[in-house]
């Protein structure tokens, strides 16, 4: 196997549009990078911000959310509900030091198999350029740091910063 970094992208695809688009890409035998791991949800509106954070925490290098085009949502407007959470997440990730390119939201309709391929390939290249995120390893590092530091002192500072 060539020694290139294969990013792991956790993908939340809505059942009606993007999941179907991915099926269409398959039926059309389009080729794209084997970097996504798809979690099917009925609607992109089901995607809880915690899912995204959990994905990064558990080792994803990127998270892709695919929903129907605005106005086309099977549940009328679930996709736009997620759009709000997406904007919040982008800001939050930036604060956490996670590059915004690692989170992507795309509207991909059931007929846009080629769009799906393009998005996955693009995102794979972008994240490959960024390198691995290594969140689980960081957590371990931070956990050991916390153990040696003065815990109570650390907490106070943290609370102070938040205010």
């Amino acid at each position: 196997m060539p020694n290139v970094f294969e990013p792991r992208i956790l993908a939340f695809f809505c059942n009606w549009c993007t999941y179907t688009a991915a099926d269409l890409a398959g039926v059309s035998r389009m080729k794209y990078a084997p970097t996504t791991r798809v979690v099917r949800v009925m609607c992109s509106g089901r995607v809880d911000p915690q899912f995204v954070l959990s994905a990064f925490a558990k080792g994803a290098d990127g998270v892709l959310i695919g929903g129907c085009h605005p106005g086309d949502c099977h549940y009328l407007e679930g996709n736009t509900k997620f759009l709000r959470r997406f904007r919040m997440l982008k800001r939050m990730l930036a604060d956490l030091g996670i590059e915004p390119e690692r989170l992507r939201l795309e509207w991909i309709s059931a007929s846009e198999g080629d769009r799906l391929r393009t998005v996955v390939n693009e995102m794979t290249e972008q994240i490959r350029a960024l390198g691995p995120l290594h969140m689980p390893a960081h957590f371990k590092e931070w956990d050991t740091e916390v153990l040696v530091e003065d815990l109570s002192h650390d907490r106070e500072e943290e609370v102070g910063e938040r205010v």
């Binding site: 196997m1 009606w16 039926v27 084997p34 798809v38 949800v41 509106g45 915690q50 679930g78 509900k81």
Partner: protein, 668 residues
């Protein structure tokens, strides 16, 4: 192998994992045995097998037997898309004696072997998603499908040949049908045609009896000059609102005597006759064509002097013995309940002016095929005489194929009917005028029963066929014989040189397109469109008339260009599917709805405004949110938004999804 006891906190979990080769479809790219070996090592997995075709009877039986022998209580199948075979394996799981929702499916074909080339990486990806499924399935709970009764009626949208055929089939089975047509009459495009290919039987002779039957059928409520404006509900229980445009005629009083038309103050037509493709004029009070169904006159508010606020003696109203004319008529609405919907909204023809080089709209003697359909019809604007706008009979005629079809500048698709209708028009023009007829084609596509034979017949009749896409139609002569003619410039790709062929008349065989408002219709019925804009079927081979919305079917050219026989077949198929749904009497609702844990709910009302279906209310006594399971469609928006984590979506529970995320990523 000794199995280590594994629980999800409530019960011992015993998972069976099955991975499908799908012949070489999966097995050719993914090392299925390696995936099975890997999954066997995961906690809770009791059985892990690979098999050639899991969806076969033998594959399903294997699951059934293993459940019994190994006391399995969770099943995971890694194979094709769940949209294809989830049902199959759920029922196998059920047959094995456990709840069908103790099952989860992993897509390693459409999302795996078919889209990846690197076998090692594709295998690793399959392992990861299989692990995710094994991780989530342990949390699955037993679920029941709710049964809902089906309203015993069908809404058909569009009264062309597809809608007519579907309505008749359903009525023959005794079903109640609402047929809604936007135009004043049913009949659609077929009513415009003179003859039909390849048999050359008269279109009116085969269509109008069907139209009349529809008009008098007690099972069919025909609403023409009406539109569906709103649709709500779900399979088995739709409600629709219909808007009736004012005809300015009391429909129950009008008997179609047409005295009003004769007595209109306009002695001649004053406005373009749409039915005759604007080749003639009609009056403001009119009937689209003599065999219109329903046979009711309409007053065109754009063309009528009185309705435009002008002074008019209203002689039409005076002439009507039954006082049927009502200038104060307003639009009205009907709300109906139906169990299923068939969308048969048809197509529009390509606007030939979008190809400026063909001169449509610039040169009088360039016609569209539909215009010529009207010219060759004995009931048409010229009484069936094929004459040019200046009254001359054409001696030479060019028929240009593929106008707005197979063209990367406009529409890429083949419109499927143009070759055949061009042949039909060539035959009819020759028959009516004795003209020399040239067909300019890219390929002759005559696939259909009796179609190739018809092509041969045309060849024998002495029609000319030139292979080549026409570059231009021009009236600029370069020789004496081109003087006063239209010149068709084309590269004759069989002879290998550019030709200029002077003719008297050019017929543009325009292609078929989605209707302009197709995307509005699509949204109203919550169905999808293909990239070109035709309605998208659920499966191109096996579910060509179903859509992504249960209970909404499509038939005819709104799904893609097709000829009359195919349209009729599809319409019958759609009627059959609708009937199956009605006769079953109930629908099983997917159990993926959400419910509120009252212990956790703080009554904050965040979820209430988010629900697009108004399924959530607040129980003010208990101070908690309540979700109505009948209205809930299971999108999960409220679940993701609930700040206290009080809402759970069946089959998409937080614990299930978190487990899936963690396990998918746990495989390095």
């Amino acid at each position: 192998m000794e199995h280590e006891v594994h629980t999800n906190g409530k019960e011992e979990v015993r998972i069976g994992f099955y991975i499908c080769h799908c012949g070489s479809n999966i097995g050719g790219t993914i090392d299925v045995a390696a995936v099975a070996d890997y999954v066997r090592t995961l906690p809770g997995v009791v059985v892990s097998k690979d098999y050639k075709y899991m969806c076969s009877n033998a594959g399903q039986d294997m699951i059934v037997e293993d459940i019994e022998i190994n006391r399995l209580n969770r099943i995971v199948v890694a194979a094709c898309s769940p949209l294809l075979h989830e049902k199959t394996f759920r029922s196998a799981t059920h047959k094995g004696g456990i709840n069908p929702f103790f099952f989860h499916m992993v897509n390693i074909r459409e999302h795996g072997s078919w889209v990846h080339e690197d076998k090692a990486l594709a295998t690793e990806k399959a392992k990861a998603v299989a692990r995710g499924a094994v991780g989530r399935v342990r949390f699955h709970k037993a679920l029941e499908k709710r049964k809902e009764p089906v309203t015993q009626s069908v809404l058909i949208v569009g009264g062309g040949i597809a809608g007519i055929q579907a309505a008749q089939t359903l009525s023959n089975a005794g079903k109640k049908v609402y047929l809604v047509e936007r135009e004043p009459t049913i009949g659609g495009h077929m009513a415009l045609f003179d003859k039909t290919f390849p048999t050359l039987d008269c279109a009116a002779c085969i269509l109008t009896p069907k139209m009349t039957d529809i008009g008098s059928d007690p099972n069919i409520t025909l609403w023409s000059y009406a539109e569906v404006v709103d649709v709500k509900g779900y399979v088995g229980n739709f409600t629709a609102q219909i808007r009736h445009k004012p005809r300015y005629i009391k429909e129950d009083l009008c008997v179609g005597c047409l005295d009003c038309i004769d007595n209109c103050v306009f002695k001649q037509g004053n406005t373009d006759d749409e039915f005759n493709q604007s080749l003639s004029k009609r009056k403001p009070v009119y009937i689209p064509f003599p065999q219109a169904v329903p046979k009711l006159v309409v007053i065109d508010p754009e063309a009528c002097t009185h309705l435009n606020g002008g002074k008019c003696e209203q002689s039409c109203a005076t002439a009507c013995e039954r006082d049927a004319i009502d200038f104060n008529q307003k639009e009205s609405f009907d709300d109906i309940e139906v169990g299923t919907v068939i969308v048969t909204t048809g197509f529009k023809t390509f606007d030939a002016a979008r190809k400026p080089l063909y001169g449509y709209g610039r040169y009088d003697n360039v016609y569209t095929a539909l215009e010529v359909e009207r010219l060759v019809t004995s009931s048409g604007p010229t009484g069936g005489e094929v004459v040019l706008r200046d009254g001359r009979r054409p001696k030479t005629v060019a028929i240009v194929h593929c106008v707005g079809s197979r063209d990367h500048q406009t529409n890429r698709w083949c419109s499927r009917v143009c070759c055949m209708y061009s042949l039909k028009l060539a035959h009819l023009i020759k028959e009516h005028t004795g003209a020399e007829v040239f067909n300019f084609y890219i390929d002759m596509r005559c696939a259909g029963k009796g179609y190739e034979e018809f092509y041969e017949r045309l060849l024998e009749e002495g029609n000319r066929f030139v292979r080549g896409r026409v570059a231009e139609v021009t009236d600029v002569p370069v020789s004496a014989e081109e003087e006063g003619k239209l010149v068709v410039k084309v590269e004759d790709s069989l002879a290998g040189f550019v030709r200029r062929i002077p003719v008297d008349m050019v017929v543009l065989s325009t292609g078929l397109e989605p209707r302009q408002d197709a995307s509005n219709v699509r949204r109203m019925f919550n169905i999808s469109c293909s990239s070109e804009g035709f309605f998208l079927e659920r499966h191109p081979k096996l579910a060509p008339i179903s859509t992504t919305t249960d209970g909404v079917f499509i038939a005819g050219c709104c799904q893609g260009p097709k000829d009359i026989p195919d349209t009729v077949a599809q319409a019958g198929f759609a009627a059959g599917e609708a009937m199956a749904l009605l006769d079953k009497g109930f629908v099983e609702m997917e159990p993926m709805t959400s419910f509120v844990n009252e212990e956790l709910c703080s009554g904050c009302k965040t979820c209430i405004g988010l629900c697009p279906f108004s399924a959530i209310t607040r129980d003010d006594a208990k101070e908690v949110a309540v979700i109505n399971p009948v209205l809930c469609k299971g999108c999960g928006v409220c679940v993701a938004a609930c700040p206290s984590g009080a809402i759970t979506q069946n089959l998409f529970e937080d614990c299930e999804i978190f487990a899936e995320i963690e396990e998918v990523l746990a495989h390095a």
